[in-house]
Symmetry: C2
Subunit: 431 residues, 2 copies
Amino acid sequence: MGNVVRVGLLGCGTVGEAFAELLVERLAAVEDVTGIPLALTRIAVRDPGKPRSAGIAAELFTGDPYDVVKAEDIDIVVELIGGVTPARELILTALEAGKPVVTANKELVAAAGPELYAAADRGGVDFFFEAAAVAAVPILRPIRESLAGEEITRVAGIVNGTTNYILTRMMGENLAFDEVLAAAQELGYAEPDPTADVTGADAASKLAILSSLAFNQSVAADDVPREGIVDLDRVDFELAAQFGYVIKLLAVADRFPAEDGGPGQVGVQVFPALVERDHPLATVRGSFNAVFVNTDAAGELMFYGRGAGPRPSASSILGDVIAAADHLQRGTHRKVPVGAPAAIRPTEDLAYSFYIRTEVVEAPGVLSEVTGVFGRHGVSIQQVDQDGSESQARVVFVTFPATERALNGALDELRLLGHVRSIGRVLRIYK
Amino acid sequence: MGNVVRVGLLGCGTVGEAFAELLVERLAAVEDVTGIPLALTRIAVRDPGKPRSAGIAAELFTGDPYDVVKAEDIDIVVELIGGVTPARELILTALEAGKPVVTANKELVAAAGPELYAAADRGGVDFFFEAAAVAAVPILRPIRESLAGEEITRVAGIVNGTTNYILTRMMGENLAFDEVLAAAQELGYAEPDPTADVTGADAASKLAILSSLAFNQSVAADDVPREGIVDLDRVDFELAAQFGYVIKLLAVADRFPAEDGGPGQVGVQVFPALVERDHPLATVRGSFNAVFVNTDAAGELMFYGRGAGPRPSASSILGDVIAAADHLQRGTHRKVPVGAPAAIRPTEDLAYSFYIRTEVVEAPGVLSEVTGVFGRHGVSIQQVDQDGSESQARVVFVTFPATERALNGALDELRLLGHVRSIGRVLRIYK
C-alpha cells in the first residue's frame, strides 16, 4: 500500500535487541494485517563492532546516534537507550526534525514528559511510550483513547515485577527479603543493583506517567512519596496471612476534584499494603503486574500482564511503532495532552485502613487505654488481635479508614504510654 | 477547534438513555481534553411522545430512523436498538451515506460482521463496536491497535455478567440455580427471559467478535458450540470447592496455525469449567467480566471490568464516538480487517483436563477396572477421590489433558461396565 516506513533504533541492549528481532520477524505479518510495510533501517549503539544477535544484519549498526535522529532515510525513531542523558537530547532532536518517537524510557518520561510532549506537538508528530508504563500491558492507549470521555478517579495497582516476584515468594514460602532478593538476582528477575525496584522508585516513575495521563494533570516522579519493601518483616507476612491478606507493593493515585469542579488535588503514593486474599490484585503473582482504573461511568477496570521483560516490552513498542507508522501515512498525529502541574495532596491527608503491630505489657485495662487513645484521635478500631500470654503480648490493631495525620497523632501518644513497649510495623490496607 | 460533530442516536432504551445522558453530561469535558466539540442532535425512537429522562431535550426525538441515518445534519450514527432487524438495514444505510457508525449490538456484529465491515470500508468511514464485546472493558481497541503486530494465540475468559453473578452466588452460598436466577431477575441482574445468557448464546456472540478480531479470521456466533449453566448441580459446586476450584462459565478461543504457517484451525467454545481458586479468573465475581489474551511476545494479558450495564456500556460507546469524531475531523478512518471464514476445529479434537463424577458399586478391583478403561482410551488419570462406604460410592476422576473424543470413547465403554452405576456431570478444567 503506502511507502515503506523506515525505523531507526537507538540502543541495542536486551530490550533493543528483542525489539529488533521481533520487528524483523513480524515485517511480513504486519504488512499483511495492517497494510503498512515497515523496515528496520539503522541501529545506533556505542560499539558497532560488538557481536550481535544473528537475526539482525551487521550493516545496520552505526556508532553515531545522529545518524538515526537526523537521518533523511529514517521515518520513525525508537529510543531504547534508557536514562535521561543522552536520551532526552536525542529524542528532542528527532521530534524537532519531524520524526515520531517511540520510547520505553520511564525514567525520562516521568522526569521530562511535558517538555517532550510539547516538542512532539511542535514537530507535528507522535510521541508514544506505552512500554514505559506497564511494559506489555496496553494501558496508556486505552486511557487516552477508549476512556477519552471518562472521568478517571483512581489508578492503582502492582506496577513493578521485581518486587512482586520477591513479595510473592516471601509470602508463599515464608522466606526473608535478603534470601529472596539473592535468588531473584541469580535468576535475572532482579538487577545487580536493585535499588530502583525495592525502594519503590521505579513504581513511582510509572505512577507519575499513569496518573498524568489519567487525570490530565502533570505529575512528576519526584512528586510521588514512596515506601519500599526492604524492611518488611517475616512476622508481618505471617500475620497478614492469618488475617486473610497478602502483602503487595502498590502504586496508588487518586484524584480529589475541587468542589467548584476545578482540578483540585491529586494523591499519589507507593507503599507496601495488605490486600485481601480474594481481591483480584492478590492473585497477581510473580513478575506479573496489574493496574486498576476507576472511572465514573465504566466503573472498575483492570489491565493485567507482564510489566517487565525484553520480549513483552518489545511487543508494546511494536504496537506503538505500527500506530505511529499508520499516522505518518495518513499525515496525522495524536497530541499528548499536557496538563498543568498537579497540586499534590500531602500523604498525611490521605485516608486508609491501617494494620498496626504493637507489643504491650499485659495488664488489666491496657487494651481499653490503647483503644481510648485511638478514639481520641478519631481513629476507629475494626479488629484487635492479641497473641501471647503472661506479661507481654503482641497486639495487632486493624483500623477503619483514617488519615495518616490522625493515625500518627494516635501513635505518638501511644509511644508515651508505659504499657506500650513498642510500635512495630504499620501497613496500609488496600480495598 | 474543529466543527461541531453532530451525533444521531437510534434507540433510547436503557443503554440509549444512559448514553444520551452521559454524552450531554460530558460535552464540555470532552471538548476540553480532546478539542472535539460534540453535539447530540437527534434521537430516533418508536414513540417520540413517550416521557424521557429530564437530561435529554424533548425536541431531539423523532419517530423516523431515516431522519438520523440519512440526515444531512448528522455526522455520526450510534445504533442502540439491538437485534438484527431493522438495525442491520439502518447501519448499512448510514455507512453507505458516509456516516461512521458506533454500535453495542453484539448479536448483529456476531451474525453479520463482515458485511458491515465491508460497507464501512466502501463508505470510507469507521465502524466501531467496542461495547458489543465486553461492554465497558476496552479490549477491541487494544487488540486492533496495541497488539496489531502480535500473534494472538488465545482469547479466553468470563464474558457474561448474568451467569457470572449466578455462579458466584451458587458457589458462595450453596444455592440452587433456580433460586439464584429468581433473585437475579428480581434485582435486574437477569432478564425476564434469561435464555440468551444462561444457554451461553450471549457469550458465544461475544466470543465470535473477539476471536474474529484477535485471529484475523471470521468467526460467526453460529460457529461457537456452547453449553450453558442451566443443569449445573449443587453437588458439583461442593466437590469443586473441595478440590480447590470454582465453577465459571468460560468462552475460549484458540488458534491452531497450520504447520506451513497458514491460518489452520480455530477452536471456539463456551462451557462451564472448573477454575483453580487462585487463578485470576476465579476472583472475577458478580457481574464483572475478564478476558485473557495470550500472545506470542507479550505473553499473558488480562482485561477486566463491567461486562454489562447501561452506564458502563455508555462509557465504551462514548469512547468510540470520540475516536470516530477525531477520525472524521482528520479525514481518516480505520478499516476493520475482514478475515476469511475460519476453519473451526471440531470440539471433539480440543483437549482439556476433565472432572468426571461417577457412581460405582464398591467391589474389589473396580477402581482398577475403571482406570484401565480410561487408560485404554489414552486418558490419564491425575486424581481419584472416592467418597461413600458400603456397597455404593461416588468417585470423582480428574484427568490429565485429553481430547473430548478420547474421553467420550472411555465414557461410552464405562457405561457398559456393570459396576458403574452412572456417569454424572463431566466438566472441563481450565488452567
